[in-house]
Amino acid sequence: MRCKYLIAVLEPRPEFHGDERLEVVDGHHYWPIGTVEDHPKAYRLVRMGIAEPDDDECRLVAAVSTQDMKAAGKQYEMVSKGIEPDDYQRYLDGEILGYDEAGNDLPGPNWKSKEDEDDDE
């Protein structure tokens, strides 16, 4: 069964780095959005919101609504960026993009520090 990626997926294994379909961003290799994968467990990626079904078999086995797929995809995005569960809402609100190497917040377009939030309360 086939699925098509909705997000770019990291490929850290050097043995795959010769594949012409991979995109290189900041030295890391990614399977780009739109990559089609044919695999017996492709439905799992659909349930995780990483990919959408690319054939009827995958659509039937995945048995997930578009809405649930989008919600799962947002959740996966946060997991793959290492966002802490306590910060999920701040990420979804655009306050943070992630963390720097010291663990500090990387400000998003709607940045608000935790101290600012405390002041608001």
């Binding site: 990291l10 695999h39 990626l45 793959s80 960026k81 963390y99 663990g103």
Partner: protein
Amino acid sequence: MSKIRVKGSVLSMGITTTLVAVAQVIEFGVDGAESETFDSTTIDTSGAGKEYGLTGYSEGGSLTFGCFWDPVLASQQSVTDLVTTPATSSWSLTFADAATTVSTFSGAGVGFGFTGAMNDGLKADVSIKLTGLFAYPT
């Protein structure tokens, strides 16, 4: 030189041919890796100290991790798939350093268990027996 935080680290496993992040991980570790030795002591070895030589092989050890267990979560179901249908597996660990260093490794066998307690969430412990070595950055 820096002290790397664990916050922001990501453990990923191969669900299809690509690696995707495992959700709800609490802790992880690698242990048991060692270069293999043999006892090379002989009767005419001088002194009391036993001697060891290198076989030229190294034991990869195991990667273990703990997580909050969600039986219907696709990424975690892929872990129990390895119990019900034994297969080699592909994994990676992304560190939260400035370069977002990624180390890869392959798993041969898997150990899995979960626990439920009144005063805690449903949790699972997973161990992955490495085949080959963890790709330590050099």
